[in-house]
């Protein structure tokens, strides 16, 4: 039983990354109807941002945690203004191809500069060691990642559900034309929301740098699972993507424990089941898809 509990905890930690990434993907999809295939590339850039700040400027991981997401959010906004924006009115496939292409370019540029092998990055001194959680001890850093991602997700949720900005964003997401008709300038919010989603991906990347291999393919390997997470949670559903992130994390961890050979497929089996039984996703609303 201890074993199982520990696996659940493992899953929550890896789910933290899924949750942050899926959350960003989900708000972008909700606001623009764009499936951002470059999301994994921005996660990778987040990790590389932390590496470059430390390697070239001697800036600590803590600073990177602040600086990198903001910088990449700005890059994201520029990306939205100059490219994504132009294709929004067209068939969504155009933006799918655009972001997919940009992901490949970003990945190759990083590979040209830094090669295919991973860059070294050590965890911050303050978070090394492990903490006793009662039933088992666990690496301090990973406990921090879990708490941090939960806090970040709750904050995003509070902003979206309790503030005026959040209300506008939600209204624009669900009834763009109606919101527009009521005098809300929907377009004004598109760019910041896109940047915000990218910032979340970068944040996940910075969090990953100390515990995962930092190389050009780290985002590409992850993005497929993230898409599955978003589909399971419900397209455009903020709560759904976060919940599905943690759920998929736990599913993989428990799967690794009991049936390692099958664990990679479990998430896609779950996705297929969800699509069959609840096409709108576990937490998505039917109207979101049928509207």
């Amino acid at each position: 039983m201890d074993g199982l509990l520990q696996q659940v905890f493992n899953g929550l930690v890896s789910g933290s990354f899924y949750a942050l990434l899926a959350l960003g993907l989900s708000v972008i999809f909700g606001m623009l109807g764009v499936v951002n295939f470059a999301h994994g590339a921005f996660y990778m850039l987040g990790a590389f941002g932390a590496f470059v700040l430390l390697d070239s400027f001697g800036l600590s991981w803590w600073l990177a945690l602040l600086v990198v997401p903001v910088l990449l959010a700005v890059v994201g906004m520029v990306f939205e203004r100059t490219l994504v924006h132009r294709l929004v009115g067209l068939d969504p496939l155009y933006n799918f191809l655009l972001t997919f292409g940009v992901a490949l370019i970003l990945q190759d540029v990083v590979r040209m500069r830094y090669g295919v092998t991973s860059q070294p990055y050590t965890r911050p001194e303050l978070l090394s060691g492990s903490v006793n959680l009662g039933l088992f001890t666990y690496p301090t850093y990973q406990v921090f990642v879990l708490i941090f991602s939960i806090v970040a997700s709750v904050l995003v949720w509070l902003v979206l559900s309790r503030t005026r900005i959040g209300m506008i964003v939600r209204a624009s997401t669900e009834r763009a034309e109606l919101s527009q008709a009521l005098g809300i300038d929907v377009r004004r919010w598109v760019t910041p929301v896109f940047g915000f989603g990218i910032g979340l991906a970068a944040l996940a990347g910075v969090l990953a740098a100390p515990m995962r291999a930092v190389n050009s393919t780290m985002g590409g390997d992850l993005i497929i699972v993230i898409f599955a997470v978003v589909v399971i949670g419900g397209l455009g559903s903020v709560f759904g993507s976060v919940a599905a992130g943690y759920l998929v994390g736990m599913l993989s961890a428990v799967g690794n424990f009991y049936t390692p050979a099958l664990s990679q497929s479990l998430v896609f089996i779950l996705m297929a089941l969800v699509l069959l039984l609840r096409p709108a996703g576990l937490f998505g609303r039917e109207e979101g898809v049928h509207a």
Binding site: V116, S118, P120, R212, I224, H290
Partner: protein
């Protein structure tokens, strides 16, 4: 919002597309035969990973190593050389067997290649072996690990030059077990290389009196090994050693997370199946100090090796991996064999190579074993240096002991190879 419906469809397509992304390609071609020096030219082909995960441990620098061998051969023999017209060509196989197959056919048939070198990735390596046999042209594999090349899938035109899973397992698995780490938990990436490594390690560990507590396949690629890290110390009986057969980025993830979870303090040591200097640079010496592994060669093991490594660095700016050194050595041995035979006819070169003993900076006490075409040579059990001992970049490895050529590789009688 109509676009959303379509976007949902696109998303589904994206997931499927991403999951099933794969290459394709195939070709056929006629056979060819040799003369004295066909076309008065010797062509050496290098099929390697020029841009993917193995492009730093093999890749462009492997091509460079073969070119270096050609220049040195020409300097050495001057006007007495069997021909002064030697060309090196290369192709990127992207680690895919079907692309390697096509590239090998084109090289042998169209470009008149007399021998092909390197070919990392076991499945691609085996594909090229088949083409070499069909074309009756020579092939020296340096980059791949599978013992199948000199096992049931061996043939008279294929040589396995640098290393294999038996050598790695025999060095690391046997020695660590004999030193007291006699119960093992093995995690391996779930594809041919990982399965082959696990089998070889299991044989070596049990042969040395050790036991396997459990083996677990892991997803590939994978960035989260926490399940296995928390499982290891709770197995019963508790294993003394965790053996990781992961490579590249996955290996980096394993070692980072092994350290995070403090497994060494919990009494579970780490043993690594296959590691290159490039991996150690990624992980950081401080995280790996003291870790034992087995290698075919390392650049600062003695003066002779350092001298070559310095020349290599002058050319490329990089320190060589053992794959680079092996490519130089194999190209040189092939050219010398052609020189002795005075023809690039594969059968005559083969007659010069089989049973030929030699020593060079890469291969010590070496011999091209005639029975299965395994190049047997000394291999080395080494460990990662302490951070304080590192003098320069890539100065990561310290000799523990030499495994004599006669013991380092699988005995020919166990190979299952029957040359046609």
């Amino acid at each position: 919002m109509a676009p959303k419906i379509k976007a949902a469809g696109a998303l589904g397509a994206a997931v499927t597309l991403g999951v099933t992304l794969a290459g394709c390609g195939a070709a056929g071609g006629p056979q060819s035969s040799g003369g004295a020096i066909t076309d008065d030219k010797i062509t050496l082909g290098v099929i390697t990973d020029l841009s993917g995960v193995y492009s730093e441990l093999a890749g462009p620098n492997a091509v460079e190593a073969v070119e270096m061998a050609v220049e040195d051969f020409q300097d050495e023999h001057g006007d007495d050389a069997v021909t002064d017209n030697i060309e090196v060509i290369s192709a990127d196989h992207q680690n895919k067997p079907e692309i390697a197959n096509t590239a090998a056919r084109e090289m042998y048939d169209r470009d008149g290649a007399d021998a092909i070198f390197d070919v990392p990735t076991s499945s691609a390596a085996l594909a090229v072996a088949t083409v070499a046999e069909q074309n009756q042209k020579l092939y020296f594999n340096n980059g791949a690990a599978t013992t199948e090349l000199t096992g049931e899938q061996c043939n008279a035109y294929t040589y396995h030059y640098a290393y294999d899973t038996y050598m790695l397992a025999h060095g690391t698995g046997k020695t660590v077990t004999e030193q007291g780490g006699d119960s093992w938990y093995i995690i391996y990436p779930d594809y041919a290389f990982g399965q082959d490594m696990t089998e070889s390690f299991t044989t070596a560990i049990e042969g040395a009196g050790g036991s396997i507590v459990e083996t677990d396949p892991t997803p590939f690629p994978n960035d989260n090994f926490s399940t296995f890290m928390t499982k290891a110390p709770n197995l019963s009986p508790k294993p003394q050693v965790m053996g990781t057969m992961q490579a590249g980025g996955d290996l980096v993830n394993v070692v980072k997370q092994y350290n995070e979870f403090g497994l060494r303090d919990k009494g579970v040591d780490l043993a690594v199946g296959l590691m290159f200097d490039t991996d150690i640079a990624s992980i950081g010496v401080e995280s790996l100090a003291g870790t034992l592994f087995t290698t075919a060669w390392f650049w600062n093991m003695d003066d002779q090796s350092r001298e070559w490594a310095d020349r290599f660095k002058e050319r490329t700016g990089d320190r060589p991996t053992f794959d680079h050194a092996a490519n130089y050595s194999a190209a040189m041995q092939y050219l010398e064999a052609v020189q002795r035979a005075a023809t690039d006819n594969a059968a005559d070169a083969n007659a010069e190579l089989e049973g030929h003993p030699f020593d060079d900076f890469f291969a010590r006490n070496a011999e091209f074993r005639a029975e299965d075409h395994r190049l047997v040579h000394d291999s080395y059990l080494v460990k990662v240096k302490e951070p304080g001992q590192v003098q320069e970049d890539f100065d990561f490895t310290e000799m523990v002991e030499t495994i004599p050529a006669a013991e380092a590789f699988r005995p020919a009688e166990d190979s299952g190879c029957e040359m046609g």
